[in-house]
């Protein structure tokens, strides 16, 4: 029975397990929406405070930094409306940290599924990023309310800047999750390395302090590199959108905000493509290495 008949009509045949990557994720957006909904539903199951936790955590974090840096180190005096400054940077870092760290672990966490059923595996890092984004929304809402209370009057360009900043972080986190997540399948070192990156990221951008303090110390070329960090660009775009319009403009925003913003968008997009390529290369071994 093993003799091979004349070459059959191969119309309609596909190679199982060879998807179209992120395009497939888009095609199966119904499944994606269910996965995101599941994550959101399950996250605070069995806790009394439930979704209140997504407010409690950032507010506590904010208070700690505010007391330590704003009061004890007296940044409150040198940066006008420091609470808003601090919080508008922290929401960016929180979004980035959650998306990146959960995205990196998402494949290992879904090992039973990946080992038994074929589905576009990009779904898992992508849904982690979307869950982080949903978690970001209430924080952004709190921020906006506080901004309004402190005299917020943004113009359209500044609002667009906020959207650009968020877009940069979402793309960046997705690309990095695809990259580190696929490495994490074989080498769990990746998730520890990511924790390290996140620790540095909080301090490598002007979240807790101000860019002028960095500029005074760093040589010009290093300052350019500092600003080319996509997270820095996103943080500054949110500062420009949320915090700057609540001040009298005593402290200017750095020049070239949009230039660095667009550079960051390009960097994040390139990293997304690289992440996808590495992911596809390593994907062949996922089911056997998990």
């Amino acid at each position: 029975m093993t003799q091979i008949a004349p070459v059959p009509d191969l119309d309609g045949f596909v190679r199982p397990g060879q998807g179209a990557g992120l395009i497939d994720v888009f095609r199966r957006r119904y499944l994606l929406s269910l996965l995101v909904r599941k994550e959101v539903q399950v996250r605070y199951r069995g806790s009394v405070l439930g979704w209140m936790w997504s407010y409690v955590k950032p507010i506590t974090q904010f208070l700690v930094f505010f007391v330590a840096l704003g009061v004890f180190l007296q940044l409150n005096g040198s940066i006008p409306n420091y609470p808003v400054y601090l919080f508008s940077g922290l929401v960016v870092i929180n979004l980035f940290s959650e998306a990146f760290s959960n995205g990196t672990k998402s494949l290992v966490d879904n090992a039973p599924l990946i080992k038994k059923i074929y589905l576009p595996r990009e779904l898992f890092p992508v849904s982690s990023t979307l869950v982080a984004f949903i978690n970001f929304l209430p924080q952004a809402l709190v921020l906006a309310v506080v901004c309004v209370l402190t005299g917020w009057h943004p113009n359209l360009v500044q609002v667009l800047g906020i959207l650009l900043g968020v877009l940069i972080i979402v793309l960046l986190a997705m690309g990095l999750s695809l990259f580190f997540g696929s490495i994490n399948v074989s080498f769990r070192d990746a998730q520890n390395f990511v924790e390290l990156i996140l620790l540095v990221a909080t301090w490598a951008s002007p979240v807790l302090y101000q860019w002028t303090m960095v500029e005074k110390i760093l040589p010009d070329w290093l300052m350019v590199i500092y600003q080319l960090n996509p997270v820095t660009a996103a943080v500054e775009l949110l500062h420009a959108g949320f915090w700057y319009p609540t001040t009298e403009g005593q402290i200017p925003m750095p020049t070239g905000l949009w230039f660095y913003g667009l550079c960051a968008l390009v960097t994040a997009s390139v990293l997304l493509v690289v992440g996808q390529l590495v992911f596809r290369r390593l994907e062949r071994r996922f089911a056997q290495d998990l």
Binding site: P6, P8, L10, F13, V14, P16, Y30, R45, L119, A287
Partner: protein, 252 residues
């Protein structure tokens, strides 16, 4: 395609699965840390060895055929099933499939204990490739088949293992597929439910679905399938009528 009694007719049956020269090798790592790797390198011990799970396997399965993959534990049957479903990718050769493929492979992999039966049906059916419309249309059938309508809004973690398997199996069997991969169906539920599952699988086959079945219940599988492919140590040793394949396997 007109059917003629002449077996030599030019018209070829429509193929569903083509496997050509499939090979799959697993790398077994003997070291699990950098330290162990370095020590193994110093002592010139092998860091890893390879294991041929499948070796040059070729076959073609027509649309509507039911095929049993036979072999003892570790012969490579499950690996083959995973290659067809796309979970694993071959190292050499290729598999091609036509139409939607879904597996009754260790059902319940996509279930989440904290979600209700209803939510799990939607989630799992979507994982198996169904659209929202298709799930809406089949939801009632799925619940009825599982016989756990009373508990459908209860969280799955409160289900007994039997109820869990019934629901999971019910979702899997109701997916819209052209090729159904079945791994160890008889581990599901009590005897009446097993019979019901088997009847459902026969019905799907009668409707023209292609079946690929792995089971250690040789009598059942020989009756269910008309063709058997016997695999031993990753190689196809027999491919023909299912009862004959089972007889060969027992003779081994």
């Amino acid at each position: 395609m007109p059917k003629t009694s002449n077996a030599q007719t030019e018209a070829q049956p429509r193929l569903a699965i083509i496997a050509s020269d499939l090979s799959k090798t697993f790398l077994l790592r003997h070291t699990h840390s950098l330290k162990e790797s370095v020590i193994a390198a110093i002592r010139r011990k092998p860091i890893s060895s390879s294991f041929n799970a499948l070796d040059d396997v070729s076959f073609r399965i027509n649309t509507g055929e039911s095929v049993a993959l036979l072999g003892f534990n570790g012969s490579g049957k499950s690996t083959l099933l995973k290659l067809i479903s796309g979970v694993l990718r071959p190292d050499r050769g290729e598999v091609l499939t036509r139409g939607r493929v879904a597996g009754l492979i260790e059902v319940g992999a996509g279930f989440h204990p904290d979600l209700s039966g209803r939510e799990n049906i939607y989630l799992n059916a979507a994982i198996l490739g169904m659209s929202q419309k298709e799930i809406d249309a089949r939801f009632d059938d799925i619940v009825e088949f599982s016989e756990i309508a009373k508990f459908i809004d209860t969280e799955v973690k409160h289900y007994s293992s039997g109820m869990f398997l019934r629901l999971a199996f019910s979702v899997a069997i109701h997916t819209e597929v052209d090729i159904l991969l079945v791994d160890e169906i008889l581990s599901v539920g009590d005897e009446p439910f097993q019979r019901k599952c088997l009847a459902k699988i026969r019905q799907l086959h009668a409707e023209g679905r292609t079946l690929v079945v792995v089971s250690h219940d040789l009598g059942m599988v020989a009756d269910l399938c008309e063709r058997g492919i016997l695999i031993d140590k990753g190689r196809v040793v027999f491919d023909g009528e299912s009862h004959e394949a089972v007889a060969r396997m027992r003779a081994q």
